[in-house]
Subunit: 218 residues, 2 copies
């Protein structure tokens, strides 16, 4: 799928990988890297890496390669990581806990500022020092605070209504963990993490390998 700016989603989804590898290189004090070395590390081909980065202006220098720190900074800018993102988590169950406690979340400028749940048992408890608020106060909260991303960690039921509320309060990004395909206007960005589907895909691939092996053994 080509996007408005002509960059395909396949390229977009590789950017965070580059960012991760560059961060690791910097941690190991590697300051400079060729597309060939980056290729070995990421298992993308050197030509794909050059093509990917050319979408955004290149950044490499013939005969020198890439300056790791500069490239990380540039990709970080492309990913929008230079600004802080305020995140609210809706649903304070296991996944809501995991997201709120997620390592590497804050290091990259994402900050959980509030949690919401409908269960009276959960409301008033704290996760990582953040109080769980009543879902009834969701719209009030968003209208009074800046919120960039709503992470939906509720069970299936009622997810669309929550998304509708987030959108009506002008939230532009939804990180959806509920096993539901949300119906949203075009100007809203949705990123789904469907664990069930991921697990079923794994199951399919294991099953297929086993079938292929049985065939091979005959």
């Amino acid at each position: 799928m080509a996007r408005d700016n002509g960059v395909s989603m396949a390229v977009v989804r590789r950017l965070p990988k580059y960012y991760r590898y560059l961060s690791e290189l910097l941690e190991h004090d590697v300051r400079r890297i060729s597309s060939k070395e980056l290729s070995r590390l990421t298992s993308f081909t050197a030509s794909q890496i050059r093509q990917d980065l050319n979408n955004f202006g290149g950044f490499g220098q013939q005969g020198y390669g890439y300056n790791v720190e500069d490239l990380k900074t540039e990709i970080g800018k492309i990913l929008g990581l230079q600004v802080e993102h305020k995140v609210i988590v809706i649903g304070a169950g296991n996944m809501g806990h995991a997201i709120t406690n997620f390592r590497g979340f804050e290091n990259s400028g994402f900050r959980v500022v509030a949690l919401f749940d409908k269960s009276t048992e959960m409301v008033g408890t704290f996760i990582r020092g953040i109080e769980v608020l009543s879902i009834d106060t969701l719209e009030e909260y968003i209208n009074e605070h800046r919120v960039d991303i709503g992470a939906i960690c509720t069970p299936r039921e009622g997810t669309q209504e929550i998304a509708d509320k987030l959108i009506s309060c002008n939230i532009k990004g939804i990180w959806n963990f509920a096993p539901v395909d949300l119906d949203v206007p075009e100007d809203i960005v949705i990123e789904n993490v469907h664990l069930n589907e991921s697990l079923f895909t794994l199951s399919y691939l294991i099953h297929e390998k086993k079938k292929a092996q049985r065939k091979g053994n005959k």
Copy 2:
């Protein structure tokens, strides 16, 4: 990417979605559905749905559509869901908790049979009635029990070593939540859930929309 059996990963990744929608239809007592109705529901085109299912033998009848229960059963078989999958979770932190407590896991025949952690504080505690065992006993456990899937929920460090252990103990499927691209032999199936990359992709898309809007407003 086309796979050994000629079915592309794009098709494979749609199968769990079909399975989910068919399960929901059955819950609402819908017994029969046309590809057109299924298209409205899933937002895939009717012709794509027919093509997808034709990869596995069709299942529809001209003028009748699909029998929901039969189609769900068939897709379940294709996904390998008719057999129970025994899952071990390595890393009993937040994500390990979330996976172990994950709804819809057991309903689909996936059962967490053991958890492992290296922290002496975690070892001996229970999650959902399942004792957290020492990571030092990982290989011993696998050699004595049937295990189908290893879910790696550890931080980055040491993930490859854990994967190597799982593989040496003959585990064929790895569900990897660690922010690492694992290096594994060809006969091993890996399914990654990289939350950081998912979040960064969301951030990119929000950032891009904002840029487009600013342009539009000029």
